[in-house]
Amino acid sequence: MTPADPAWRGRALQPRLAEFIGERLGEPVSVLDLHRFTAGLSWATISFTLRREGAADRPLILRIGDPNGLLAPYSARPEHLALTSLAGLPDLPAATSLWWSDALDVLGAPFIVTTRLEGRTPMPIWPGAAPGAAEAEDDGPRILDDFAAALAAIHACDWRAAPAAALDPGATAERCVRDEIARWVARLPGAEGRPEAPAMRYAAAWLHDHAPAATRVALLHGDYRVGNYMVKDGRISGILDWELTHLGDPHEDLAWAGLRTLGGTATTLGGRLDRAGFLERYAARTGLAIDPDRLRYFEVLGQFKAACLLLMARERVRRGAVHDARLAVMGLQPAAAQMGLMSMIKAIRWT
């Protein structure tokens, strides 16, 4: 028997959200047209319309971090800090953070309200998949430029002088990679900083043994890939899903964007964007000399995190009270991701 569903999953969402926003605006408001998107397996994303007397209706987005969700416990604060730090950059179309709360007594979960961006979200094209009905502009020539430019803009953020400094006030080049490993290990079942799953234990030890100092400490998106941007009129119109933002080495975002587990191939990012072209454009914009060995290390770290996500889905199912059946599907997949992880380490270790 599972407990009753929390407020955000029921009819209480609409009045409670209206009350919360109304208190912040100092006037009564209405919340209309709630619609939940199925994209995303971590935060729930819901579009809605905000109505105020005497003002035009405003389309907004509500993101909710389900306490029983994949990466729970959640906090809306990192996404708010990142979006606030990056607001107004010309090369970075991103939503504006309007309100957020980690208190569970409002909706039963942490949440953030942002402006709503317009566009479609092209998903990865997996190797062997039949060509979809995606519109040609989803992969238009400007998309690759925009994808590289937006990441360069994020990494150029002077985070020490921005709200994002609060993400990790003590971040250093020497420590930030190990800190990221430790954050993910802590999410897995295990004790004393060691994962319970033996393959993850092996990989975590390897990653710690080989962790480089960061080339520099940058604000990272943390989940920068095909599937997390929107397209409109042949251009990227929004960079989405900032929940994994943190401070680290820029190579970490570059490696994640091309992970095979996320649909990447030897020549593409997510089966859609030219991998070499992306790295060239990014390097030209930032002046970063991309280090292939470092990139391979961060590909291993990325695969480790992908395997963590699948094992965390399995753990959620074990604990019960899961709000998304797709977590059970994910929970059946960790073996493949861990085998990929072993192979990647082997390729570095024994060649």
Binding site: T2, M123, Y202, R318, A325, A335, Q338, S343, I345, R349
Partner: protein, 151 residues
């Protein structure tokens, strides 16, 4: 696999009953859904993971752990073999724990071992893990998330 078929059935039953059933207005569709929910509840306690998979996982682990023990003979603090266990699931859990003990040793006291022996043990452990994972992977097809994500 430390997630049981019964736990998966419970997630499916719960989501079908709470998220899908209230949205179904067609009587026939509703009857089919309720039948599915009922069946999932009844078969859940009867299901177990394939015994063959467990055998394959033990076959991947046990000889390599024994070989690792031979390679580490005489090295201080090397892990002891897992105690015998008649139950197949218990035996696998014990061998996995033994594998973890080897990994901890290799990245702790085992660092003092000469590089060739250390590399041999690391290779054996990695192969053991690969074999154990492969037995699971062979039985479960890859995800097709495109059919589960829209909008």
């Amino acid at each position: 696999m430390d997630m049981t078929p019964a736990q998966i059935c419970e997630v499916l039953r719960d989501r079908l009953a709470r998220d899908v059933a209230p949205k179904l207005s067609d009587d026939h569709a509703q009857s089919q859904l309720q039948a599915a929910v009922d069946v999932l509840g009844k078969i859940a306690p009867l299901l177990e993971w394939s015994g063959e998979m467990l055998d394959e996982q033990l076959a991947a682990l046990e000889p390599r752990l024994e070989e690792a023990a031979r390679a580490a003979a005489g090295a201080p603090g090397a892990p002891a073999p897992a105690p015998p266990c008649a139950d197949r699931k218990g035996r696998l859990a014990a061998r996995q724990a033994e594998t973890s003990a080897w990994l901890d040793w290799l990245h702790g006291p085992g660092r003092a071992l000469d590089p060739a022996r250390r590399e041999t043990i690391e290779r054996l452990l990695r192969e053991a893990l690969q074999g154990m994972l492969a037995a699971e992977r062979r039985r479960i097809a890859a995800i097709d998330f495109s059919s589960m994500t829209r909008g």
